[in-house]
């Protein structure tokens, strides 16, 4: 116990934190790219763009039907063969964002479809372009609807990014295994790794909850919020 706190932690924590930083970078970049991919795919499929939407549908299907770890390995080992040399980190970002993007496209599609078409008609009838209707009417609402799910995917991503350790990216888990290879202190090191993942996910969950509340406009807030304000509790 004493050794754990006073020897192992001071010695190995910094290296693990370096890994945690990579994990964060990996997750944030992948999430941002996945949002772009997911939204793009959703819009193409909703617009029923001739060939493109079929391709997008196939992408979503395939990417959801293959385990993430297999996708990462395929990307990591295939790309060099077709002449693309990506460092492990960027191969990881590519793999993760394509994977999450497939799921997010379905989230966005559902969120956009949930907006009544009468709202679109109202926009078109006053002379808005389809683009303006999306930008001003549909997306602001759809994004807020999708937000909690997006947050959930981000928290999963923080944890699932550990799979990228298999393609030699020095993120949190891999740094842990490197330490173990040298010290054979599996239990203690995995424990530290677990604690760091927990702290990151816990903090991310709080952050997501806070952002959600901040971005939830008055018109969507459940009555409980109003009640609290009315009772001057908040």
């Amino acid at each position: 116990m004493v050794e754990f706190f006073f020897v192992l932690i001071p010695e190995h924590f910094p290296f693990l934190l370096e890994g945690a930083l990579i994990t964060l970078q990996l997750s944030i970049l992948s999430m941002a790219a996945a949002v772009v991919i997911g939204l793009g795919v959703a819009l193409i499929r909703l617009a029923k763009v001739p060939i493109l939407s079929k391709l997008c549908a196939a992408y979503v299907e395939v990417w959801r039907d293959v385990p993430l770890i297999v996708q990462l390995l395929v990307i990591f080992f295939t790309l060099p063969n077709i002449g693309i040399r990506l460092p492990g980190f960027w191969a990881g970002v590519l793999g993760l964002s394509l994977n999450i993007g497939a799921y997010l496209s379905e989230v966005f599609r559902a969120a956009i479809s949930s907006i009544d078409t009468g709202q679109r008609d109202a926009g078109l009838s006053i002379g808005m372009s389809r683009f303006t209707v999306y930008r001003r009417v549909i997306l602001p609402q759809a994004m807020r609807i999708a937000l909690p799910t997006l947050g959930g995917y981000f928290i999963s991503l923080l944890k699932d990014s550990s799979l990228v350790s298999f393609i030699a990216v020095n993120e949190l888990l891999r740094n842990g295994t490197i330490i173990i290879a040298n010290t054979f202190r599996s239990m203690e090191v995995y424990f530290m790794v677990a604690i760091i993942y927990f702290i990151m996910s816990f903090a991310a969950a709080r952050l997501v909850g806070w952002v959600e509340m901040k971005l939830t406009p008055a018109y969507l807030r459940p009555a409980a919020f109003d009640l609290r304000r009315r009772l001057r509790l908040a």
Partner: protein, 265 residues
Amino acid sequence: MLMTAPPPISATGIVKRFGAATVLDDVSLTVARGEVVCVIGPSGSGKSTLLRCLSWLAPPDAGRIELAGERLGLVDGGERLRSAAEIRRQRSRIGMVFQGLNLWPHLTAAGNVMEGLVTVRRMPKAKARELALAHLDRVGLLAKADAYPARLSGGQQQRVAIARALAMEPEILFFDEPTSALDPELVGEVLDVMGALARQHTTMVVVTHEMSFAAEAADRILFMDEGRVVEEATPASFFGNPREERSRRFLDRTLSRYRLLVRSP
């Protein structure tokens, strides 16, 4: 003759099909400036489709529509579609109030009314808000300018929707059963606003099941059934002495259901 302005809307021979079904079959309608035309008819007779064709939300398969003398949707002479920008400009001259409550829920009442002024008319925000408030005042909702739709009653929402359409200063206003989604006690306030517009000689086409409104506010009644105009008459002659058998049957059913008393001419 030279000085006469062309009618806000003039449609001839409108045909609209959905798959094998012909929903509008050779419908013609001209609305003069300041005229109020009420369209009535049984469910599924094509009333909503007619308004959607006339506002180019559902382009017709055949026929010719003129918006204040200008060919709607198509380039005159050919059957070539106008550019998207042209169609938007034309649509912005036609106001539309729908059956469903479809204010944009993420914008306040004033925000809903301003939106078209800002994004379509490219008006500065301050000016747009000023105009929006004036239009909300017109429908008696100045006090609710900063309320979100969820905080408004259905009747208030429809009045905001009317203000939203009016703000664009359209040639003509289309109403598609604006009160049929409302609780009975909220119908009156919306019809009052529409009645006031009618008295101010706003050009309107109103699809409605509110026979007393049609009888009072309309200059002309258009009775539709199965995608055709069955009878076109003044309210007095339509309600008092319908020419067509189908009109008579429809009125018997509807008026007995609503237990309305309509004075004979």
